[in-house]
């Protein structure tokens, strides 16, 4: 079953076109990685899917329902959440208040308590630092909170924008093992990541984005072949 279908998606800022005819689809429980150099539209793609940027044209379907052009607050209630680049946690609010904000976007409010317990199992920082001001957490803890906050909205599809940004290697490993657990629990993941090798380990497919276009797609086996990945990343052709 296709959970997310993107077709001929064009997006950008004002008169500037950033994404051109993006088309791909994902099945429930899959993980896709999006890699590419800076400024090619990776974050714009995630923000457009999540509703933060209105697309210029094209279709975005979540569970078969058109969500293109809808407000972000409606999209999150439909089951798609974004962990934005730079985490964007609310530093002036406590850890628990940040999570309560995530509950706002949850369609089923009755199970809020269980939801908090569930994400606390994955990210213990929620329990140990619940009353602490979120801005005082370390980078890794803030990233955990950002993912927990998105997870608490009960997403079927979770978009992550550069989750490893600014984190130490041991924190990154821990983070990605948690993402693997989230994936194994059935959540579909779409991850934008500069460090391609981090996502190739468990992504079902890697999309190479350049100049606003999907220039190449690598399956799980090809993505783990460093040569093929480099060639695709730098536009030399994956099969050369």
């Amino acid at each position: 079953m296709q959970i997310l279908e993107i077709e001929d998606l064009n997006s950008g800022y004002g008169k500037v076109d950033v994404l051109l005819d993006i088309t791909f689809s994902m099945k429930a429980g899959q993980c896709f990685g999006i890699v590419g150099p800076n400024g090619v539209g990776k974050s714009t793609l995630l923000q457009t899917i999540a509703g933060a940027i209105k697309p210029k044209s094209g279709s975005i379907k979540l569970l078969g329902n058109e969500i293109s052009g809808r407000n972000p607050e409606d999209i999150v209630r439909s089951g798609l959440a974004l962990v934005p680049e730079g985490r964007q946690i609310f530093g002036g609010l406590t850890v628990m208040e940040n999570l309560q904000l995530g509950l706002t976007g949850r369609a089923d409010k009755k199970t809020s308590h269980q939801a908090i317990e569930h994400v606390a199992e994955l990210f213990p920082v929620i329990t140990t630092h619940s009353k602490q001001q979120a801005g005082l957490l370390s980078g890794g803890q803030q990233q955990q909170l950002a993912i927990a906050r998105a997870l608490i909205t009960d997403p079927k599809v979770l978009l992550l924008d550069e989750p490893s940004l600014g984190l130490a290697p041991n924190i990154i490993n821990n983070l990605f093992s948690n993402l693997k657990r989230i994936l194994e629990a059935g959540t579909t993941l779409l991850i934008v990541e500069q460090r391609a090798n981090l996502v190739t380990k468990f992504a079902d497919e890697i999309l190479i984005l350049r100049e606003g276009l999907i220039q190449d797609r690598l399956n799980k086996i090809d993505a783990q072949d460093e040569n093929k990945l480099k060639k695709a990343y730098f536009g030399l052709g994956a099969n050369e």
Partner: protein
């Protein structure tokens, strides 16, 4: 001395309420709503025009009218301009303010409308050799209760958390499910309620209501949110409070030189901004409009 302190606290509290009313709307829309002045004015006019009713009925009526005016402002003007450039929003709010002043002039005339609002307020209480006017005492109690209620609302309720989050970063708040239209409308309602309280406090002290009645308070409340930290709701309240206290103390201490109160007030504001350019409670974050 006690009277001076009480006056300073009550004026500080009144400015804190006005700044909070402005700060609530600024937080969710990045809009400096100059027309807040006209919300204060309509609250005062409503009290004057319904002064034959019991004071509580008249006041509740004023709260309803002012909140309704605030919601209509948002629905008819600001919602349609939400994607516009900040300068356009600013000019629109200034234009709306001027337009409403003309409307008030047409409806109520350019000359002040006056009425005796709760004459018992001008009475005095004597306590330990100190006399305190009823108005000062009630204003001080009212503002403390309101500020505590606002503090509870902002810190202990889901709506308050959403408002604070939206004030810090509306875009991310929406990505988490905070409903923009809903939150903005509620912020305008609360802003209207606070304007009604401010209007009532002002009209008790000065029951001469004319079309620009709320202007002075609004401009100084804006100064308050700037010195408190424009992106922080507690900062807005604190900034407004500081402006009110300084103004009240200057008016008392300067005696006949009180004509220079504003000069000294702005000198103090400049000093605060030189030391803390982002405001007292600002964290220096750059915010994005809805």
């Amino acid at each position: 001395m006690i009277q001076t302190i009480l006056n300073a606290l009550s004026l500080g509290g009144t400015y804190a309420l006005a700044s909070l009313g402005l700060g609530l709307v600024f937080g969710v829309m990045r809009l400096v709503n100059f027309a807040y002045s006209e919300l204060i004015t309509i609250a005062a006019y409503t009290l004057v025009m319904t002064n034959q009713l019991p004071i509580m009925v008249s006041f509740l009526f004023s709260v309803v009218v002012t909140s309704l005016a605030a919601v209509l402002m948002e629905l008819l003007i600001y919602r349609r301009l939400r994607g516009a450039a900040p300068a356009i929003m600013l000019v629109a709010s200034f234009g709306l303010s001027k337009l409403l002043q003309q409307v008030y002039e047409l409806c109520f005339g350019a000359l002040p409308r006056s009425a005796s609002i709760a004459p018992w307020m001008s009475g005095e209480l004597k306590f330990a050799g100190v006399s305190i006017t009823n108005a000062s005492l009630i204003t001080a109690i009212l503002t403390i209760v309101l500020l505590l209620a606002m503090r509870y609302l902002l810190n202990k309720t889901s709506f308050g958390i959403q408002l604070k989050a939206a004030s810090a970063d509306f875009r991310t708040a929406r990505l988490l499910g905070v409903r923009a239209n809903h939150l903005i409308s509620l912020a305008f309602v609360m802003s209207g309620v606070l304007a009604a309280f401010v209007g009532a406090i002002l009209v008790v002290g000065n029951p001469q209501v004319e079309p620009m009645f709320g202007m002075n308070m609004t401009i100084l409340a804006l100064v308050g949110i700037v010195i408190g930290g424009i992106s922080s709701l507690p900062g807005s309240a604190l900034g407004g409070f500081i402006v009110g206290v300084i103004l009240s103390l200057l008016n008392t201490w300067l005696g006949n030189g009180r004509v220079y109160s504003y000069s000294w007030l702005f000198a103090a504001v400049f000093i605060i901004l030189l030391v803390r350019p982002g405001g007292l409670l600002s964290k220096g974050q750059e915010m994005e409009r809805v």
